[in-house]
């Protein structure tokens, strides 16, 4: 491919990676701080997207929808933590897997009951509707760049939150050592509730801002779920920095996996096996570092 194309693909990869980061960051926080494995994370991405759609239909614009949607997501998160997740902290991961696996089915069916099984589109806000010409044939949609910017802002925001604020201090303490956090006299119940809600909100938010590009359809949650796990595990559980690096890495691997052509002894490897590449990457990383790139020993 030409150098120019290569650069654009690079951009695509990074852009995709940033979006992945946004979804995965919530997952990695909940993982790292609460030690809770939440398979239903993807469902919240889906719920976010559907909220963006149905709310913007009612409220007339996406911004209002997102504002309201985030609040709803936070409330939902707190409710779930209080109702279900709380009961599992002491238990083996196994039960978390099980419970959240059940939640996937529940949310998917509720979605079908409430919103039906149709595909829906969300209007791109007029101020973002434009495209920037890159080559004579290809131009780049502003909304995608906007999404990337939002992701970056959020990443920086999270960094500051975690590094600079008191709650961030608790979060770091929690991530590194659970006993310590109690000894600091922190209300762990409250912290966990906040963190879980934050995680949910991040997933839902990701669904909302990507809704205009990705459109809204059943099963969209499970698509991102597994890939997000890969992001978190590669990056290192609980490490936001790791999630960022891993997400970009996967964004690039996925992008070039689709367009590069690799043969080995007459056997076509890429793009034939593009579906495998990210998992392959994960396997390699974990053989090299069993706790992910930025992970601490658990």
């Amino acid at each position: 491919m030409s150098f120019e194309t290569f650069l654009i693909q690079l951009l695509n990869g990074v852009q995709y990676g940033l979006l992945l980061f946004l979804v995965a960051s919530g997952l990695t926080l909940v993982f790292g701080i609460m030690g809770v494995i939440n398979l239903a994370h993807g469902s919240f991405y889906m719920i976010g997207a559907y909220l963006a759609w149905s709310l913007s239909e009612r409220l007339g614009n996406l911004w209002a929808a997102i504002a309201v949607g985030v609040v709803l997501a936070v409330l939902l998160g707190m409710l779930l933590e209080w109702l279900l997740i709380k009961k599992l902290y002491a238990r083996d991961h196994l039960y978390q897997v099980l419970l959240t696996y059940g939640l996937i089915l529940v949310f998917e069916e509720l979605r079908s009951v409430i919103w039906g099984d149709d595909v829906h589109g969300v209007q791109v806000p007029s101020m973002l509707a434009a495209s920037i010409p890159l080559t004579e044939t290809l131009s780049y949609p502003v909304v995608r760049l906007w999404i990337s910017v939002v992701c970056l802002v959020l990443a920086v925001g999270m960094y500051l939150l975690i590094q600079r604020t008191r709650i961030g201090m608790m979060i770091r303490a929690g991530a590194s050592n659970r006993e310590m956090i109690q000894s600091l006299g922190i209300n762990i119940q409250l912290l966990y509730r906040i963190v879980f809600a934050l995680g949910i909100a991040l997933a839902a938010f990701a669904g909302m801002i990507s809704a205009p590009v990705s459109s809204v359809f059943p099963g969209m949650g499970n698509q991102v779920l597994i890939i997000c796990f890969v992001v978190v595990v590669i990056g290192g559980i609980g490490s936001v920095k790791g999630a960022m690096v891993a997400a970009i890495l996967i964004g690039l691997v996925d992008t070039f996996g689709k367009v590069l052509h690799v043969e080995l002894g007459g056997v076509k490897l890429l793009p034939e096996l593009a579906g495998m590449t990210v998992y392959l990457l994960m396997a390699v990383v974990l053989v090299w570092r069993p706790v992910g790139i930025f992970g601490r020993r658990l």
Binding site: D117, S131, T137, L138, S215, V216, F217, P218, K258, G275
Partner: protein, 406 residues
């Protein structure tokens, strides 16, 4: 995948043998089921369709239309009452054979109707071939069902994945499109659709620049759009459906390719997503065996009746379900509802001309519709029929099915 692909003779051969053996098995299978089927009493119709999840809507539409067709014909089959047994196949292939088996062996259905998902269909076909139960496919277009794995007791009222795509090959050439890039999900339907297009396109002197694939159900198209932009073909043939199609059409427009490169595809690309893509599909031409604004009395009547009965607009899937109903009605009428005379039912179903909302059509020797494929153009929220792309198309050719004598 394309059993009928020229370059794939080996696999084709084995599947044809498969037909022979399978067909024999199926016929042998008739005997026990004949013994089972009670002459009097109700006729049991097993509907195995997706009622939950992504394809849930399609399953419901098919079911409704199927029942509508039978209602319009007196609500009986050959004078006998009907009992429906419905089962949600969840579009879950790993449970397919299990579920189909449940209907055939537990519920003892006389007719097995379904389904939408090609992977699940393969499991149903397996059971149908073993048990010999009368089997009608109202959607899934997996080629094998009417090529390599065809059997006397298996009928399809929808299409083969390659069928709606095939005519687009010639249309592209006529439009003066010489170089084409194909892009599709790497799974059965996508691959077969692309094969159908290529077969015809290359035959008429077109050139395929490159085949691009996306792991199913991945919807991150940007990388491939960039690739396409750098290849600068005259046209692009794609296969996507549902949510994937919606996202693709939006990305296609956002990437500025709309209007610069001609986008083509089988009708599924623009069916049921026009509201979702908000104008991004405007003007795109696709080929399918149905479309909006077919001005025949039959179609008008059907649309009216369906909307009235179920408070929803019928789509191509509903039409296929409706025709499945009509086909069964015809078959049962021929034997006065005596399900045991299966050979005569099959014969009748092979002969009958279905007066469908999509237009009249017959079964091919492979039990796949020989039907007109329309050229449609997206106008507003409609897939307006602007002409017939190809009349009475039998594709993949019935000759690929070695139907056992029956």
């Amino acid at each position: 995948m394309s059993e009928f692909r020229k370059t794939n003779a080996g696999r084709r051969k084995f599947l044809q043998d498969g037909a022979a053996v399978g067909g024999a098995v199926a016929l042998a299978g008739l005997l026990p089921s004949v013994a089972m089927a009670q002459g009097a009493g109700k006729i049991k119709l097993g509907l195995m369709l997706p009622y939950s999840g992504t394809y849930g809507q399609i399953g419901v539409g098919i079911t409704n239309a199927f029942k509508l067709a039978i209602e319009e014909n007196g609500g009986k089959l050959g004078g006998r009452d009907i009992e429906y047994v419905t089962l949600d196949d969840e579009s879950e292939p790993s449970k397919a054979a299990d579920n189909a088996n449940r209907l055939v062996n537990r519920d003892k259905v006389d007719v097995l109707v379904g389904t939408v998902h090609s992977g699940v269909q393969m499991g149903m076909v397996k059971i149908a071939r073993e048990s010999g139960v009368l089997h009608i496919i109202p959607n899934a277009g997996v080629a094998a069902a009417t090529t390599g794995l065809c059997a006397p007791n298996i009928f399809r009222t929808s299409f083969a994945n390659a069928q709606p795509a095939y005519p687009m090959g010639k249309i592209a050439v006529d439009k003066g499109i010489k170089n084409v890039v194909t892009l599709a999900w790497r799974y059965g339907a996508g691959e077969e659709s692309v094969e159908g297009f290529k077969d015809n396109f290359v035959k008429h002197g077109g050139r395929i620049v490159k085949d691009l694939w996306l792991p199913f159900p991945n919807v991150e198209f940007q990388a491939l759009l960039t690739e396409i932009a750098s290849l600068k073909p005259d046209g692009v043939f794609v296969f996507f459906a549902g949510g994937g199609a919606a996202k693709f059409l939006r990305d296609w427009q956002a990437a500025g390719l709309k209007g610069k490169i001609t986008l083509m595809g089988a009708g599924f690309l623009t069916d049921g997503v026009l509201e979702a893509v908000g104008g991004a599909a405007e003007g795109i031409e696709t080929t399918l065996h149905y479309g909006d604004g077919i001005e025949t009395p039959k179609n008008k009547a059907f649309r009216l009746a369906f909307a009235k009965a179920y408070k929803m607009q019928p789509d191509v899937y509903a039409v296929q379900g409706y025709d499945a109903g009509l086909l069964l009605v015809a078959g049962m009428r021929a034997v006065k509802g005596d399900i045991r005379r299966k050979k005569e039912i099959i014969a009748a179903m092979e002969k009958v001309e279905i007066d469908s909302p999509r237009g009249k059509w017959r079964m091919s020797a492979a039990h796949n519709p020989i039907q007109d494929i329309y050229l449609r153009k997206v106008v507003g929220l409609e897939n307006k029929v602007i002409g017939v792309a190809q009349r009475a198309l039998d594709y993949p050719p019935a000759s690929l099915c070695k139907m056992p004598p029956h």
